[in-house]
Symmetry: C2
């Protein structure tokens, strides 16, 4: 009778269970393994991104054992899908899995990783649904599939689990839980095979470093990219843009690049990708004039092509089946589509000196973008295109600048795994300050950059609180395309806003060195507290006792999503509008106030009451922070500045100070310098600073160097 | 160069574009066609449900032409998925596509039809994500695939569209729309083929009738199912249940069945499916005693099996890979799993006289249910199981009662296409009164039943307003498992509540006849206004002018989701807590007040101010409504009651009065009667009523019949 039942469904079984089991593993770099399940697709995330691994840097990190038993990983191909299973220990916490906005801890969640705008819930739909996670146990996992992946992070419970949860009677047992313990991360890849990468630690930060280095290292912006940017109103004319730049200079606010919004184009939504001749009668002259003011230009675009575009007839054979806002969607996997599309941008914009793009609306949302039923002339599916379109747009726009041996630093609304080295920063229309900080924290786990941009605010308090976090982020942007707000628009905070803006500029040597470490060593500049050695949150005993029962609950209770590390030494603890003070969790070790150098605490929770003008920032003992004089523009190629190197605390230490020409791609050919700054204790107990001489006279941006010891060492 | 580019991706093309095009059509019943695209899967929604078409009733409806050009439908198999495209005219509105809670008009939406609890947004995840839509143009479409379907209802725009939207420049044209016009419904079926059914009209209601009849007709509950039900507190004992029943009788409130919650089982979440011996020491005696009080019992269950269940070891070879709340998940597609599981329910419960089940938590949500990576011993995928599990649980539980020649009437949290004839009513933990009414309206478009159950309320006003809609719904349920609320708990409305409860009982002959029409003719008892002849909403001129631009906007503006039809003649317009009055849109034709018979209006918007005790109900001109004396229990088999037939308005008319034994399945063998009630105008202008004699002496529930002319005809 049993077999008769099974026989009835024999056909289904045959169709659905032609399953491969297990993965084959191969080491592809020190501490990096590739696993193959089933028949992986030819197109995947890393292929779309096309980044080359930084093998030398990975070799420098050295080897490590595979971080868990390989047999504990399983893969089953069934129903045309690949189901992956990775082990999860009771104590483990999981970070990453996309640019989440409200949560840092991912254990206990189910995410469908899907490129989209952020819809208000951490459900996997986000601008960068990177299928990479890092475990608190010190390893990382990447699923290299350009598909909508469903990830169960310690939720599903197999009946054959080796660590099953205890069965309880809900009728009578108050300790019953609706979410019993699960010992696995399970992932469904809707394809009959996939590649998987595992990155060893030993620490979680090491795993992230390996992940970034395997994808070419993190992005290294040009120096000007770390200065200020203002996006001007949509229909601004050339003269209005020039006047905007002048007003910044006259008022003494720094500005490095201006973003032009849709009105620079003759038509938009869909676009022609050519200048509007009324608002911009002489584009080349305009761009040249702006460069003369030390202001670079970033142009808004989305890649949806108007029938009025000069190249429309050429490109339409290489566009998808469906339109976006009636515009056609170029298939960027086809060289011919790229030649036509980016050729227009080169000729019309990059060749005359435009410095970058804001690539908008390559993410979603569903009601605007092509549907999943769309087809593309390359044969790629709508799903594969959706998961990688932002990556493709970044990749091929970068070539425009690379061919001129220029760096760029732009904005993009969609990214994914593999784009780690692309100098593009993610943003969103969403505008919750707290969530923007959580996103900044999450960006550091997944190899992307995020800007908590400031647009306008209900109050001057909100304005300055947002501004304070903008200057401690990858891109210091005021996005005023709609509001027209200027840094000085809120008169009562205009002076401290200027101080904050100039602080961003003064810290440029630090930011630039830290981004160089992101690029060459894989260490994210902005990152979550869980990656900081000595960081332990303040779990209470009662929660701890519940760990056996409900690890996800325990995990959530420890989530820290409102303070973050900025570079090697700084802990940033923003205040949000309405707050007079806040708790700050200081990791173990001595920490000092950034502004005064005074001792702040050690492995404890302190209360910060910074007043309206300051954002609480704490500095690690032994910190060495190179700063320069405040300038209105980033140093140009060949321009030399003096450094004041701040030293915090009482410990000796050393710092690697990076230098290159700041604008070209020559650093990829070795034309850069690392100078070691050393702070040592002298016989009298005093600290003394020393700086290595430049190794490369050709890239010497730093002139006179002085030390400032911030902490009283008596 | 072009070909070189395409050549690069040749492999992708070959893998992804092995596509079939078009469908093959076959007429399968009068006005019903089956279309086949690609290679449909062996398992689908209708196979899971196993319903046989009511061919004779369909033949009676007669033939109709295919409702649109067959060539206008296309199917493309690509990337392992089937992409369907159906035409959509500018004027068309689309209804159905799942048990939506907040919207009735579906044009302009994107839904991923996925069995789930309702999460607060009409996004396709719902208890009954039925992939059936009915067009205002008078036809229906069903996608017969047990998969997560993505449906684009007039959203995607193909570049080769024959009716493309006009391109506009967003920079300068204020009439630019973010959602341009689309001329198609597009559906992605994640399988390499699918069956599709098209149902002709000529009216939208006819299309729904065909859809229901093709799936065996609508559900016909036993008479007792249309009486009152109370669900008692979770840990009630046998004595407490008996006392609850007695309190209803003593206070004069009707009650036909009581629902027992998890505590009837010895363990729950996961369950043992056997009585708890402490709370229910003598189950057989208890059930018998309750039946002696004319109270039937409905037992809560979810099908997740405890290791403590007596049949655990037998059934575990036939359960899925993953557990739900540590309980194992029987694979109901396997006969052996069914034999063991339902065998336990038969032996332990149905054989001793239990009358029905509440099948809980077969819907979701994701954090509780098996993940999509789960596998089942039959080889069915987790997705297929998820989309049909509620249907399977209903189908095979029904067999327990059918074998005893008994009807049941139960509750279920998940359904889908094909279960149209199953006497199970959907419910949800969600508790928004307005949205419950919208769900009731939507249930009528998709062949399912829904109860706007009342649980507890913040105020007596809310309590009575909710109660008023419960009595005009498929199941008059108070769900007090958590609150313990009784109908008389809100003292200030206890008397009108009793009147309302008794009104439900008095209307039973009407409800029963209307449900018979649902079963034998396919006409849903509770349904949206768009299906009512003469109904036109009050679109304003300005919106109308916008139709060319933005049909979805125009559609939404016309959405009526707070009034509905109940049976052939009644228009129910509920008030919600806080409302003193409301607008009611009366279709064309004369309408009369249900309570007084007074003229109410004709094709106009009126304002109802019913006071707290009444729910506005309007009756169509010529209505003939059979009612009986108020009783505390539904008439039993063989019990005869007197009828008072109410006549409304001034028009002659006729009504089909249904009768059968009320409890057995004998109606399926023809043991029922339809008696025609005729109201004719006599020579003096007065209306006079006549009733056909019974055709079948064996099923004669109605004794003395009198007429009451509600409207003054002078």
């Amino acid at each position: 009778m049993v077999y008769k039942g099974i026989l009835t469904l024999f056909l289904l079984v045959v169709l659905n269970r032609a399953a491969a089991q297990g993965l084959t593993w191969q080491q592809v770099a020190p501490g990096v393994w590739k696993g193959v399940a089933g028949q992986p697709e030819a197109y995947n995330l890393l292929k779309a991104a096309g980044s080359a691994p930084s093998i030398a840097a990975l070799q420098k990190m050295g080897d490590q054992p595979f971080p868990f038993p390989q047999v504990a990983v399983s893969a089953t191909v069934s129903d045309g899908k690949t189901n992956l299973r990775f082990p999860l220990q009771k104590e483990e916490q999981v970070f990453g899995l996309g640019l989440n906005f409200q949560t840092v801890h991912q254990r206990g969640k189910i995410l469908q990783l899907h490129v989209d705008h952020y819809g208000g819930k951490d459900n996997g739909r986000t601008h960068a649904p990177v299928p990479f996670y890092v475990s608190s146990a010190g390893y990382g996992v990447l699923i290299n599939a350009a598909r909508y992946l469903t990830v169960y992070i310690g939720t599903g419970v197999r009946k054959d689990s080796h660590n099953p949860p205890v069965e309880k009677d809900r009728n009578t047992d108050k300790s019953w839980s609706a979410r019993p313990y699960s010992d696995a991360v399970e992932i469904q890849v809707p394809a009959a095979g996939t590649e998987v990468y595992v990155f060893a630690g030993p620490t979680p930060l090491d795993a992230i470093r390996r992940y970034n280095l395997f994808n070419g290292g993190g992005a290294l912006p040009p120096r000007w990219g770390l200065g200020f940017t203002q996006r001007v109103r949509s229909l601004f004319t050339a003269d209005e843009v020039a006047a905007e730049a002048d007003s910044f200079r006259l008022k003494g606010y720094p500005l490095d690049f201006i973003g032009l919004e849709p009105g620079w184009q003759s038509r938009a939504y869909p676009g022609t990708f050519e200048w509007d001749k009324k608002r911009y009668p002489d584009p080349a002259g305009f761009v040249k004039k702006m460069l003369g003011k030390d202001i670079r230009l970033n142009l808004w675009m989305n890649p949806y092509i108007s029938k009025q575009a000069s190249f429309y007839k050429q490109i339409t054979p290489y566009t998808g089946s469906h339109t976006v806002w009636t515009g056609e969607v170029p298939d960027f996997t086809l060289p011919e589509a790229r030649r036509i599309f980016f050729g227009q941008m080169k000729k019309d914009q990059v060749d005359i000196g435009v410095s970058g793009y804001k690539i908008d609306e390559v993410d979603g949302y569903d009601y605007y973008l092509w549907p999943d039923v769309a087809t593309f002339p390359s044969g790629l599916s709508a799903e594969q295109m959706r998961q990688t379109y932002g990556v493709l747009a970044m990749r091929y726009s970068l070539e425009l600048f690379a061919k001129k041996n220029e760096r760029t630093y732009g904005l993009v609304r969609a990214s994914n795994a593999g784009a780690n080295s692309y100098p593009y920063v993610l943003y969103d229309d969403y505008y919750n300050h707290e969530d923007f900080i959580t996103a900044l924290i999450n960006s550091g786990y997944i190899g992307v950059l995020w800007t908590p941009e400031v647009r306008a605010s209900k109050t001057s308090e909100e304005w300055i609180r947002r501004f304070q976090t903008v200057i401690f982020s990858p891109m210091a942007m005021i996005n005023a395309w709609s509001s027209g707000t200027k840094p000085w628009s809120y008169a009562d905070v205009a002076v401290p806003i200027k101080e904050l803006a100039l602080l961003r500029m003064r810290m440029m040597p630090y930011w630039y060195s830290e981004f160089a470490k992101y690029h060459f060593e894989g260490t994210p500049v902005f990152r979550g507290m869980s990656l900081e050695p000595g960081f332990e949150s303040t779990a209470t005993g009662s929660v701890k006792a519940n760990l056996e029962e409900n690890p996800y609950l325990e995990a959530v209770s420890k989530e820290v999503k409102d303070q973050y590390m900025a570079g090697e030494y700084l802990l940033v603890a923003p205040l949000f509008a309405g707050q007079q003070n806040r708790k700050v969790i200081l990791p173990k070790g001595n920490w000092y106030d950034f502004y005064t150098g005074a001792y702040a605490g050690n492995g404890e929770v302190i209360t910060a009451t910074p007043g309206i003008e300051k954002i609480p920032v704490y500095v690690k003992d032994g910190a060495i922070i190179p700063m320069m004089a405040p300038m209105l523009h980033a140093p140009k190629k060949g321009e030399q500045v003096d450094l004041e190197i701040r030293v915090y605390g009482t410990k000796p230490g050393s710092y690697k100070l990076y230098d290159d020409d700041g604008v070209t791609m020559d650093y990829e050919k070795g034309r850069f310098d690392w100078r070691t700054v050393t702070v040592a204790k002298e016989a009298n107990g005093q600290l003394k600073g020393m700086v290595e001489a430049p190794h490369n006279k050709a890239v010497q941006s730093y002139n006179k160097i002085t030390f400032r010891f911030m902490t009283d060492n008596k």
